[in-house]
Assembly symmetry: C2
Homo-oligomer: 441 residues x 2
């Protein structure tokens, strides 16, 4: 090999894993090209706060190019990846065809509707910033509509919000939503009796936060109920329509807003040849994070299926970050003629927030609930949020909400498109391809 | 009249004039209903800073309901007005039909394309928050595209930005854009030679800021040229296409981005019967701001045509605010059986910003340029921006940009829709009805 040749490492996805891998490889004597369909990184753990008008979208979106300043070996291309050809070692995008010597797939995950009829059409996902913005606009539009709605039945439907999925995302969203309604919106909508509004959390199994210890799930349920969230356990959704969810026990709950937090699947790019996948469409990787038949290709984060201690690793940011480091280091090892090393996830614990003064933390063998856990959750997320200005402005928003119950982002912006859609104000981000009633403005 | 009857005053438009009128009428013993198609007020003078990635949209958008807290006599309806029936005294909206006793029309203005062929289809307006966001996304997308554009001609086209219209909006936008390119984007795009980028300001007559004194227009031109903006005076646009502007002297300038700041017209609602209009579609009003044939109806702000000292009043925020007060007070007078009073605008002066340390201020007989004028401009806009938190966060953005040339909002968000549009990445807000090439994602 030409000694002056600089190997090209391509990373697809500027999420937690992709960005981390890029920063490690920046010092590895390679050229790094980072691809993403957006020109910003999204701090996904705080998406629900955009959806509940607590934070502005820009406070949790950080331009990729800002990350890359001072890293001359790393360049960025905003592009949609169409297909990866493992044999030719090329990536076809909507801009150009890119060659690679090494490749890291870090494309993350998207909502999975679990085959529930109507869910993809009528439920609102919340996995991207555009979806969170659309959800916020939709929720606020329901209140605007309810103000002048003469029919009590229709008004109740507008003020009913169903969240399907009682994992951390669903729990945090339920807490954020009920606090929005009982806090800021009470002052904004004196014409409405907001005690009529309902936030309903549906969980398919017997407890919330099923991946946390049982005690924390029970605490969470108690807290949410105290806050006014209606919780239905052991409630599987059979069908979703434009007006209601139908449960397997034949219960029907009418609602204008049905939010889907019940499952995610890998956002896998199309590849040639195809790669073996496991649950949720995740790509099966070796312990070194390499694809079995393509040793120059790595998959990390939500995209990758890897077991540790007999259980698949969960799709959370710390896993993606550690795998980003590991994949980058393994590529560096390969370049030096060494064997890649197996990945070992160091689990520092997990946290979830329920509402003001209420959180849960589980770290190794101990767990904490309540105010200390809430503080820990806030601190961790503030610490890891990219950008000092974002951290400062998020802290200001949090303080104002805590002390004054004030939310600054009660804006329906940009204006949703459809007028007579199945979901009241679905926007472009959610518009399903097969929805009959969407009209263009 | 029933002594307990509370007259209903409807105000259409939550801009500067409408909001001011609502706040005055809140204490006048009437019921006030404020209508707007958006649930927020837009601080229009800072729109160009959203378009140039200096500010976040939410920093200049203030929820209408936040304004109305503590004003129990004032309620809000988010709705599109379809028609006003002056004889039946009703307003037809997309939600319901509303009755009024008194009406204030404060619907503002929109871009006017002056009959230039192609302008409405291919030029980008900047009169609303959605349009400013779309413009920012488009501008940044041009740079993203240029990074990997192999053709030098096409690359040059992507890096050429034409602004049509050398009034205050065009001047401020030109200054903001050149500073964005030469400041933040130089660090973000090390792959591009940004000295190739061009910001071109076209003015149809012989000087910039034609409504300001000649000295200030000359100063502005000198400053912009020093900053690198190319200025073409006496340059009327004959035609706009997807790739270029054609001037009346047959000059053709190729550009991917053509921004229209050359004219606005009244955003007049449909009325029955029709109302006489003057230039730019403005409604002709009496000196009292009433419509001649409908004494319960007032028109204010950019919507209204009224002369003072032989010249039509300009469409600026101070005029709208003072007219909002005057219209509200006149309605209160009518309710007390008194005659409305003629409106007299107290002109405190005008200001425009060119770039860092460079502004122009004209107040009564004196005018100021340079650093003091720049400070005055910043102070005025910070003072009048609604919301202390917005003021604080805008100040932080300004300081960071001034000291570090850092812009935090270099985000292409939400993702533009069309792939193969006449304008590279037109979004929904700009999508013209008759554009042939727009594809849905």
């Amino acid at each position: 090999m030409n000694p002056s040749y600089r190997p090209q490492v391509v990373i697809i996805g500027a999420g937690f894993g992709g960005l981390k891998a890029a920063s490690v490889l920046a010092k590895a004597g390679v050229s790094v090209l980072l691809l993403d369909r957006n020109n910003y990184h999204t701090f996904v753990p705080l998406l629900y706060q955009v959806a509940t008008a607590e934070l502005e979208p820009e406070q949790i979106a950080y331009p990729v190019r800002s990350f890359l300043r001072g890293q001359p070996n790393v360049s960025f291309l905003q592009a949609e990846v169409r297909q990866v050809d493992f044999l030719a070692k090329t990536i076809e995008t909507d801009r150009e065809i890119i060659n690679y010597d090494f490749l890291i797939l870090a494309t993350g995950s998207q909502s999975q509707f679990l085959g529930v009829p109507g869910a993809a059409t009528y439920a609102l996902p919340m996995r991207s910033l555009c979806e969170a913005i659309a959800l916020r606009n939709h929720v606020l539009s329901c209140f605007e509509q309810a103000v002048h709605e003469p029919s009590p039945t229709r008004c109740q439907q507008l003020l009913t919000f169903i969240i399907v999925g009682g994992g951390p995302t669903g729990v945090e969203l339920a807490g954020g939503l009920i606090e929005l309604i009982q806090g800021a919106l009470v002052s904004d909508y004196p014409e409405l009796n907001l005690r009529r509004s309902r936030v309903i959390l549906l969980q398919s199994n017997e407890r919330l936060l099923a991946s946390f210890p049982q005690r924390l799930g029970a605490y969470t349920q108690k807290q949410l109920r105290k806050m006014g969230v209606k919780i239905h356990l052991n409630s599987k959704v059979r069908k979703v329509t434009s007006e209601a969810v139908y449960l397997e026990d034949d219960t029907i709950i009418n609602a204008e807003t049905i939010i889907w937090t019940a499952g995610v699947e890998a956002n896998a790019p199309e590849t040639a040849p195809a790669v073996s996948t496991a649950m949720k469409g995740k790509l099966v990787v070796q312990p070194t994070l390499q694809l079995r038949d393509h040793p120059q290709v790595y998959a990390i984060g939500d995209l990758a299926y890897l077991e540790q201690d007999g259980k698949p690793l969960v799709g959370v940011a710390p896993v993606a970050i550690q795998q980003g480091v590991a994949a980058a280091k393994n590529i560096a090892r390969q370049l030096r003629g060494l064997s890649p090393q197996p990945f070992n996830y160091v689990d520092k614990g997990r946290a979830a927030i329920i509402g003001r003064n209420a959180g849960v933390v589980q770290a190794r063998k101990f767990s904490v609930t309540g105010f200390p856990a809430w503080l820990v959750w806030l601190s961790i997320h503030l610490f890891y949020l990219p950008g000092w200005r974002n951290r400062l402005s998020v802290l200001v928003n949090w303080i104002c909400d805590y002390l004054l119950k004030k939310r600054f982002v009660c804006l329906i912006l940009p204006k949703p498109r459809a007028k007579a859609s199945p979901r009241l104000f679905m926007t472009e981000a959610q518009t399903p391809l097969n929805s009959r009633n969407i009209e263009l403005n």
